[in-house]
């Protein structure tokens, strides 16, 4: 295959820079969909979105429609959303609850584990027709960790826990901040940009840009919002993007990463903060509760999941085309925290992630500029040279405490590893 030849022979990824072409070449994008999104673990949301038997959500990965269901056995199934008869999608609703999926074309009916249970005029298909062998296709693998829901189109490779490796304990800290050790994801705010999906990864790992891209800060001063819009502004300044004291950044095997900032970037005190800390203290003790609440932790799971504790949310990037991507922002409720605390967080997170909002819209504009600009010469390089103190720590992970491109260097090591494994079929 032509692309395979090219990947082997072309110099695309070096330690501290990558060829611009990898953001702009549709053939490389197609290869990524096969070798990355078609093979490794991909995050498709959170299990709290489908808590009860019959609950489902629909998604698509690389244009392949899938349904994630919770079956009566309590297990989660990842099904191909395509009738085994002529191929129609059996469900076009983003979220819902149902006992069966009935194909609208000729009425074939499937259970939420994909089993085919009814075929109208079945006798016309002849005596040898075995409906048991025409269930909805299942993705080879589906698994959860820390509540996050992952699927893989590849039937082999490391299991999810091995895949997460040293990043796993950091993922745990997300639900660890909830008094009942559980988070409830709400439905996402979505935004589209004209740019490659990897630009969003680089933006996540980039602490160089905020003061330039976010001159208005990270949001309005925190305010209480009454249902009618009336509300008083509470004290507490909106944080400035440059308010970063000390930081830890780590790059793990397989492209995952974490960053913490201290003091945490503050958005003013959310309502009922003291009550939330008290509730969390009951489970973990007051010192650990204060530590967890003050942690501004960012975790990235390659290739598409971004977790942030400062606003209890996660984001998923969806590649749509070489220069088209979507970011979904999921605000999460901390189960056991006061409603007012969770509600204020929900509103702030939406403001960050919305196309009508005040933070991510600026980042995605910058990414759009990059996408347009790098076409000027796709054989040139994109630079990831920052980081004067990168070292390998006692766990064997790369670490830095300065402004650094450490995370992106890790992303492209993993990118090169996955992309140079030949296709299995």
């Amino acid at each position: 295959m032509a692309i395979e030849m090219r990947l082997r022979t072309m110099d695309l990824v070096r330690e501290d820079m990558v060829r611009r072409r990898i953001f702009a070449d549709p053939a490389i994008f197609n290869a990524e969909m096969k070798r990355i999104f078609g093979r490794t673990w991909v995050c498709v949301g959170h299990e709290s979105e489908i808590p009860e038997p019959g609950d489902f959500k629909t998604e698509d990965i690389d244009g392949r429609p899938i349904i994630l269901t919770r079956h009566v056995d309590g297990k989660i199934y990842a099904l191909l959303n395509s009738c085994r008869h002529r191929g129609a999608t059996v469900c076009e609703i983003p979220y819902g609850k149902t006992n069966v999926f009935r194909c609208p074309y000729h009425g074939w009916t499937y259970l939420s584990n994909g089993e085919l249970i009814s075929v109208p005029y079945r006798e016309e298909f002849g005596p040898d027709f075995d409906i048991a062998s025409f269930g909805l296709g299942r993705l080879p693998r589906v698994a959860t960790y820390g509540g996050f829901l992952f699927v893989s189109f590849g039937s082999d490779g490391p299991d999810l826990l091995e895949h997460l490796g040293h990043a796993a304990p950091w993922v745990d800290q997300f639900s660890g901040r909830a008094p009942e050790r559980k988070v409830q994801a709400t439905k996402p705010v979505k935004q589209r940009y004209v740019g490659n999906w990897k630009l969003q990864l680089d933006n996540f790992g980039d602490n160089y840009h905020p003061q330039f891209v976010h001159p208005a800060g990270f949001g309005p001063r925190r305010r209480r919002q009454e249902p009618n819009g009336a509300g008083a502004q509470s004290s507490g300044p909106a944080s400035r993007p440059s308010d970063v004291g000390s930081r830890i950044q780590r790059s793990f095997a397989r492209g995952h990463a974490m960053m913490t900032f201290s003091p945490p970037r503050s958005f003013g005190d959310p309502p009922k903060l003291a009550e939330y800390i008290t509730a969390l203290s009951e489970r973990v003790g007051p010192d650990e509760a204060r530590r967890l609440v003050a942690t501004d932790l960012h975790v990235f799971i390659y290739p598409n999941l971004f977790i942030q504790t400062n606003m209890n949310h996660f984001r998923i990037v969806r590649p749509l085309a070489v220069d088209q991507s979507e970011v979904q922002t999921y605000a999460c409720r901390l189960v056991g925290a006061p409603d007012e605390y969770n509600q204020a967080n929900l509103e702030l997170t939406a403001g960050w992630g919305s196309p009508a909002g005040f933070v991510q819209v600026d980042d995605l504009e910058a990414l759009t500029r990059v996408q347009r600009g790098l076409r000027a010469d796709v054989d040139q390089w994109v630079l990831f040279k920052m980081g004067r103190d990168e070292r390998v720590n006692e766990d064997g992970d790369r670490e830095s405490n300065s402004m650094t491109d450490l995370l992106s260097r890790g992303f492209y090591r993993e990118w090169a590893r996955l992309m140079s494994e030949p296709d299995r079929r």
Binding site: P215, P220, E226, P355, E365
Partner: protein, 165 residues
């Protein structure tokens, strides 16, 4: 005064309200953001639902759901120079139609309209259509916006930029 207001109806009310919506749209289209902001009451709500017109802000983050201080921040951002979505600034044109006013209180008028906004930036164009809901009140003889709710017909999709609707 409120009793007098309520007697306003028929073609006179229709004309008055349509003129108000045209003017509001023009203030946005011509980027007179401070003048636009001045149309809102101190207890105003600016609301762009996410996912469906009846999306519940208690259940789901909204595309926008902000009070006057949030709107002031929006306008502050719109006027900042820099890399943000204002450089180059967007061009918009609102088309206002199907205006239906209905009194909902002594000095409270609900106005439903259909609007289409064409939006252009950097050679890219977008069109947003939907139902605009204005809850208006008269203060010192002028209409003011107490609530503006914009329900886009495609608000379940991932959209591009929505600086002001």
């Amino acid at each position: 005064m409120t009793g007098v207001l309520r007697t306003l109806g028929g073609p006179a009310l229709q004309y008055d309200v349509e003129q108000f919506l045209y003017r509001e749209a023009w203030l946005v289209d011509s980027r007179q953001y401070d003048e636009w902001l001045a149309l809102f009451t101190v207890d105003a709500l600016y609301w762009v639902p996410n996912g469906s017109a009846d999306s519940d802000p208690k259940e789901r983050g909204q595309l926008a759901y902000e009070n006057l201080s949030g709107l002031e921040h929006r306008v502050y951002r719109l006027k900042l120079p820099g890399i943000g979505p204002q450089s180059p600034p967007p061009s918009y044109r609102h088309l206002v139609g199907n205006v239906i006013p209905a009194w909902t209180g002594d000095n409270e008028l609900l106005v439903i309209s259909s609007q289409v906004v064409s939006f252009a930036r950097q050679g890219r164009e977008a069109q947003y259509a939907g139902t605009w809901e204005h809850l208006l009140t008269q203060i010192d003889g002028r209409w003011r916006i107490r609530r503006k709710k914009v329900s886009l017909i495609n608000n379940d999709q991932a959209l591009w930029q929505l600086p002001v609707l």
